[in-house]
Amino acid sequence: MAKFIFHRFLSLIPTILGISILIFFMVHLIPGDPAEMMLGERASEQSLKELRKDLGLDKPLYVQYGLFLSRMIKGDLGRALKTNEKITTEIIARFPATLELSIAAIIIATVFGMLAGIISATRQYSIFDYVSMVFSLIGVSMPIFWLGLVLMIIFSLNLGWLPLSGRLSYHISVESITNLYILDSILTQNWEGFKDAVWHIIMPAFTLSTIPMAIIARITRSSMLEVLRQDYIRTAKAKGLSPFTVYFKHGLKNALIPVITIIGLQFGILMGGAILTETIFAWPGIGKWILDAVYARDFNAVQGGTMVVAATFVFINMMVDILYAWVNPRIKMG
């Protein structure tokens, strides 16, 4: 196992390097000059030249990439062009918000998705099966933007049950330790803050969870169906084991492998793909920040932000691989 994990770690290096090259050159391929974007209508040749020099954009591309790489190895992602703030500082300020939202969303998606998948598989062709599969189809294809607004109008504007947007009410504050507000409020035993943070996360997390929930439900269902057709399940049933033991102990454990993979993948996608949800719900996360950086052609911020998201994605995938090997000892390690 240790050897497997070590090998998986080693394979991260070329992956990250590849990603860095891809990101760097893709970012520079986008048409548009950050200096032009920053100065807008008031740009003059001289001010543009000076700004480009200040930003280091006057150097050849390979030199810029070399600088980017050498800095990155030292853990320095440079400075955002617009705010002149260190990218690492900017990311640290926003990443926990995205992480918290993604964790909440993936928990909702996993619990409800798997439950729906299991019940559908064990009651194939029942009303529940049809209903849940239709809902999962809707879940995959529903525009998040629209869903978010509809939820807001129903649950905030009309019913007044949930707050509309943001992470916390303005009159509540949570002492920041990890910047994951729910965790921080538990650590500091700030129950008012805890309640407020949970209240705020419900709608955005649910909105964000619809697509992965639907996918998880479908994968769980088909994987379970396949397993339930196996001989050993029939044997277990014939032995007179309780349905719970048959489905959960013998069935689910074996059906879990593709489900874990998909949960891992979906979690990775959520980390970088929460842009829309973050925008609608005024959630101060990293997705919205990268989007703004793309619009402003803030190369450093786009590179740095994307690097972090990509690295997280790769890291989660590695964790999934390890988990995979642990759940299924039939997989050869190494």
Binding site: G32, D33, E36, E41, L149
Partner: protein, 536 residues
């Protein structure tokens, strides 16, 4: 009869007493301002965006301030100022007893430090505190773009409360420039203490003190009880970031925010019908225009330019594309600016007249000569404060010109490329759309920046006209405002005759707010000032 009169009188007194009572400002409360984006930073010298300046507006003061609802200049940290006979020396007399939020004293040395730190060549003299200037600062963009480096020669603190600015050249808009955000007076002690982190720990003398900044979420300010201009009514002001326009409006409707910046035009209609909301509006200090590629022979004949001005239905553009949130422009400067020439009669929408003018000028022949069958109209790919949809405006103009027999091809590029290519006056460009948002409320900031191509190769229109150039230069150097107004009125007449550009529209800023918000005013410079705002 007497009884009736007494009753009427009593009712009268109660009525007016009640009105007076109702309008009496109340102290206390927290105002939540909903905006579309976060600030980039809070050090006024280095910021360029409205979201940063709106916080700075409340945390800092300048030597001179703009009046509440206009760009008239009023005393700020300087109570008065003298200008030498040659217009080259400005002496500012500072307000005494003003302290920064960190408790340090605002004096002449703080002024020298605040402005001096932006100078590339630091020709400054302190009176008492010899502050060191921070090193490795980013470029002070506004300082450079407002040409301050070429204007200010030296800054000297002559005593505790007097600062003298010596200029390199006569520059009438100098006072207006000094009232801009970038020229705010900052606490030197705080700048040196926080270093580059001063951008997230601002310390000024303004009506509000900075409390907290959660990136992309909120900035919290609290009242400065010692403010020289009087204690603000609000206890606290919170600026919340809600990027999505419709969600921001929903937050206003549910009562979580008090003012909603930049709503969708259709939400303004909803706000009108909502009994809990009211609207506050202000003509934007901007101009959206179409101009010509003056480097091409095709556009040299002014009859052709006049024809196009008659052919474009501006009113229809404002009604349908600005959704009424704009007003047709007859001058290049907006009507809120001093020097606006209201006597100008605009080129009316008259396709027949336009056709005749084109015939007289033999436009068809000239087009053939240029080897063209149609003309191009470059249109912006993005919404700008002065134009909500460049492409749609382009389509409207295309349809209007078709009616007078001119075929137009719409051209667009990604925004950065558009700006870059426009500046080179690419021969493939015939007409282009662009606009301008004013900085300091001085007509020079529109009329020189946009049209005096003889003064500066960076002027976007590259219109070169001797007579116009003379007017603008004279106005820059004139000392009295009356003299300047006269010159700017003439400049606007010349624009009207020569049509170097077609003024399309000034946008109108309309924001909904809760009824309980009192005395909130939009400013022509787009600054947000909460000092005198109170909650009912």
């Amino acid at each position: 009869m007497f009884k009736k009169l007494t009753l009427a009188f009593t009712l009268f007194v109660f009525f007016f007493a009640g009105m007076a009572f109702a309008l009496e400002p109340k102290s206390g409360g927290t105002l939540v301002f909903g905006r579309g984006g976060d600030s980039a930073g809070l050090d006024p010298a280095f910021e360029t965006d409205g979201n940063s300046f709106m916080i700075c507006d409340n945390v800092y003061d300048q030597l001179i301030l703009y009046a509440d609802e206009s760009t008239d200049l009023i005393p700020g940290l300087a109570t008065s100022w003298d200008v030498s006979w040659d217009g080259l020396t400005y002496t500012f007399h500072l307000r005494k007893g003003v302290k920064f939020h960190d408790g340090t004293v605002m004096n002449s040395d703080a002024v020298v430090f605040s402005i001096g730190r932006m100078m590339k060549e630091k020709v400054v003299k302190f009176f008492k505190d010899k502050w060191d200037f921070p090193e490795n600062q980013p470029a002070a963009e506004y300082w450079l773009s407002m040409e301050m480096e070429n204007t200010i020669g030296s800054i000297e603190a002559v005593d505790e409360n007097t600062v003298v600015f010596r200029l390199k050249r006569r520059e009438a808009p100098f006072l207006a420039n000094i009232a801009m955000d970038f020229a705010a007076i900052v606490s030197p002690a705080a700048v040196l203490k926080h270093g580059e982190n001063f951008r997230s720990n601002p310390v000024g003398t303004g009506p509000f003190k900075f409390v907290e900044w959660i990136k992309d979420d909120r900035i919290v300010l609290e009242a400065n009880p010692d403010y020289w201009g009087g204690h603000p009514y609000l206890d606290k002001a919170i600026f919340r970031v809600i990027p999505e326009n419709s969600v921001r409006f929903l937050e206003l409707k549910t009562g979580n925010i008090d003012i909603c910046q930049f709503p969708n035009p259709e939400d303004i209609e909803l706000a009108k019908k909502d009994s809990g909301l009211k609207l506050v509006s202000q003509p934007g200090m901007n101009i959206g225009y179409v101009s010509f590629n003056h480097t091409k022979p095709l556009w040299q004949d002014k009859r052709i330019r006049q024809a196009l001005a008659h052919a474009i239905n501006k009113q229809s553009i404002v009604d349908n594309i600005y959704y009424g949130l704009g007003q047709v422009a007859k001058n290049t400067i907006p009507p809120t600016l001093w020097g606006y020439n209201d006597d100008i009669i605009d080129h009316d929408y008259n396709p027949e007249k336009a056709k005749k003018l084109l015939e007289q000028a033999d436009f068809a022949g000239k087009l053939k000569e240029a080897g063209q069958t149609k003309i191009t109209l470059w249109s912006m790919p993005v919404a700008r404060p002065y134009n909500p949809n460049g492409m749609k405006v382009g389509e409207a103009i295309q349809a209007d010109l078709k009616k007078i027999g001119v075929d137009v091809e719409l051209v667009t590029f990604e925004w950065g490329t558009y700006l870059k290519k426009q500046r080179t006056q690419d021969p493939s460009m015939d007409l282009f759309q662009l606009g301008w948002t004013g900085d300091n409320g001085d007509p020079d900031n529109f009329l020189a920046v946009l049209l005096d191509g003889l003064a500066d190769p960076n002027v976007r229109t590259q219109w070169k006209n001797e007579e116009y150039h003379d007017l603008i230069v004279k106005a820059k150097q004139a000392v009295t405002q009356a003299e300047r107004i006269n010159l700017y009125r003439k400049a606007q007449e010349l624009i009207n005759q020569e049509v170097p550009l077609i003024n399309l529209a000034h946008s109108l800023v309309v924001w909904p707010e809760k009824k309980r918000v009192m005395n909130f005013k939009l400013h022509p410079t787009a600054s947000i000032r909460l000092h005198k705002v109170w909650l009912q």
